[in-house]
């Protein structure tokens, strides 16, 4: 309504100016019969009002659409009401064309992104073969040099894994399978797969989880998250013969997995940002090989799985990460 009046304002203004001008011309000409003039003016105004009302009714839908904010991009073209006047129809056509162009562009990018993910998947899998060849070649060797190569291979493996999982995150909805898992055995299998890391740093896991406690999650993604957390816990523990504690307990209805290390901890100024992508913070600068992606991915994945993740830390005492299922 407001919009309609704002648009018709100039018309109304011109109309009154015109009316005044005509009456003025007649008046100056010597025609002084005010009653007839007034009658003509009222008649004319009635006509204008009638016209305005007619226009308003016809274009009511159109104005309403313009006045209401758009909720989603899909609503733009589907709405066919309010195409009363040529102007509204023209706008509708324009929007439709714009919308289809936009959709097309979006599709192109979507396909390109999918191609890219496909490529990365392919590439990572191809890289895994050379990695496994190196892995096998050095397996029987026990010299310091080969150990160093082994460590580097482990890093390569982790890097590849991270690439794979962050690429897959985009197509998460097609790539997960939720089932009931035994928390204890899941944690055990992840810690075992990281045994080299533990041994190398002389840090040992201590698993304090009830054998029967179960959770509902996706094994593959959860294992990836746990691997990230374990890598962090071990990396930021400097002193030897420390432990990483895995505790499982219930808080209300939720199962909780707590991973506690005895490492260097995270400064209070950094802790609010540890889940941000590429954030490495003070520890990241002091310790090499931080990517800033581990915790970010962990949180992204937890969110998608419907788990919560929280972190708590005290400098020089250690860090505790909790996953709430």
């Amino acid at each position: 309504m407001k919009l309609f009046f704002r648009e018709q304002m100039s018309l109304i203004f011109i109309y009154f100016l015109q009316l005044f001008l005509i009456l003025l011309v007649y008046w100056l000409d010597g025609y002084r019969n005010m009653a007839v003039s007034g009658y003509a003016a009222i008649l004319s105004i009635c006509l204008l009002t009638g016209y305005l009302i007619y226009r308003y009714i016809r274009n009511k839908g159109f104005y309403q659409r313009l006045a209401n904010p758009l909720t989603s991009i899909d609503g733009l073209a589907n709405d066919s009401q309010g195409a009363g006047s040529p102007l509204a129809e023209g706008l509708q056509q324009l929007l439709k064309a714009q919308y289809s162009h936009y959709k097309k562009g979006l599709h192109t990018y979507k396909y390109r992104l999918e191609d890219h993910i496909q490529f990365i998947n392919q590439w990572v899998h191809q890289m895994k073969t050379p990695v496994s060849v190196i892995h096998l070649m050095i397996q029987e060797e026990d010299e310091p040099k080969f150990k160093a190569i082994g460590d580097e291979v482990d890093r390569l493996k982790k890097g590849l894994e991270m690439v794979l999982y962050s690429a897959r995150l985009e197509t998460f909805d097609r790539d997960f399978y939720v089932e009931t898992l035994h928390l204890e055995s899941t944690v055990r299998s992840v810690t075992s797969s990281q045994k080299r890391l533990f041994i190398r740093k002389r840090i040992f896991p201590s698993i304090l989880i009830d054998v029967h406690s179960t959770i509902v999650s996706d094994e593959k993604w959860l294992s990836f998250v746990l691997t990230q957390l374990i890598t962090n816990a071990v990396r930021y523990t400097v002193k030897e013969n420390r432990k990483v504690y895995f505790r499982g307990y219930k808080r209300g209805k939720n199962s909780i997995l707590e991973i506690q290390d005895e490492g260097v901890g995270i400064p209070a100024s950094d802790i609010s940002r540890v889940f941000d992508p590429y954030f490495t913070g003070e520890n990241g600068r002091n310790f090499q090989e931080s990517t800033g992606m581990g915790l970010y991915l962990a949180r992204q994945i937890c969110e998608k799985l419907g788990h919560q993740i929280e972190i708590e830390s005290k400098v020089d005492h250690g860090t505790t990460v909790r996953i709430i299922f």
């Binding site: 073969t129 990695v131 496994s132 060849v133 892995h135 026990d142 190398r200 201590s206």
Partner: protein, 233 residues
């Protein structure tokens, strides 16, 4: 002797697998022409197949189906794809097991042995029972029995693993890290102290066979197993 057919296109990986399987007394044949895998299989008539998924020409699933038309021998997939769907696909197409890259030799050997046992009866186990002998001291890895001068002694699982590793590399230093890695078990984690305890136990068992000082500690490095008992007898 069991015949194993490896269908994998990475030459290095094939060579490593071949060498290793050779050590375990398997007869190994590999594929060089990936268009005639089917006929090569028929010619060789293997007892077990190791099959990669990503192959030139046709993929592993295809060859698995082809082989299934010819034989019911165990087929183990070896693939870089660790997704659930890939594993399901492999098993649905007639595979018997699935190993993801990168893998350990031990796992491959264990899976091969387990499938051979299942497919061809228990005589497979006795044939492949692995023993290591150092200067008359014999370790039966699978039965966990240590024999010296007709005296037998039983070992625990972990003790056998430690001795296996040390005797395999006798006269050479084996690092603590490596031993820890070997005896790391899904059930119980071993830390430094536990390893010390196990080493003591192994020494005691060796002593009951009248072998002393064979297991030496090399400070800061690890342990070394030497057959120094020869002249004692």
């Amino acid at each position: 002797m069991f015949k194993i057919f490896i269908i994998e296109d990475d030459k290095q990986l094939v060579r490593l697998l071949e060498d290793h399987l050779d050590k375990f007394d398997f007869d190994v044949k590999t594929v060089d022409n990936f268009e005639t895998v089917g006929s090569q299989f028929e010619q060789y008539e293997p007892h077990l197949v190791l099959l990669d998924v990503n192959l030139p020409k046709y993929d592993g699933y295809y060859w698995c189906r082809q082989i299934r038309n010819l034989s019911t021998c165990p087929i183990l997939f070896i693939s870089a794809r660790e997704g659930k769907m890939d594993q399901v696909m492999a098993l649905e197409n007639g595979g018997d097991d699935y190993i993801t890259k990168p893998f350990d030799f031990e796992i491959v050997i264990a899976k091969i042995n387990s499938h051979l046992r299942r497919a061809y009866g228990s005589y497979a186990a006795s044939q492949n029972s692995r023993t290591i002998t150092v200067g008359g001291l014999k370790l039966d890895v699978e039965r966990m029995i240590l024999t010296f001068n007709d005296e037998n002694i039983e070992l625990s699982h972990t003790e056998a693993k430690i001795l296996d590793e040390l005797m395999k590399k006798s006269e050479r230093v084996v690092s603590r890290d490596r031993l820890l890695e070997k005896i790391w078990d899904d059930q119980a984690f071993v830390d430094d102290n536990t390893l010390n305890v196990y080493i003591t136990r192994v020494r005691r068992k060796l002593a009951t066979l009248h072998i002393s000082n064979a297991l030496q500690t090399i400070r800061g490095k690890g342990y070394r197993f030497i057959s120094n008992w020869g002249h004692d007898e």
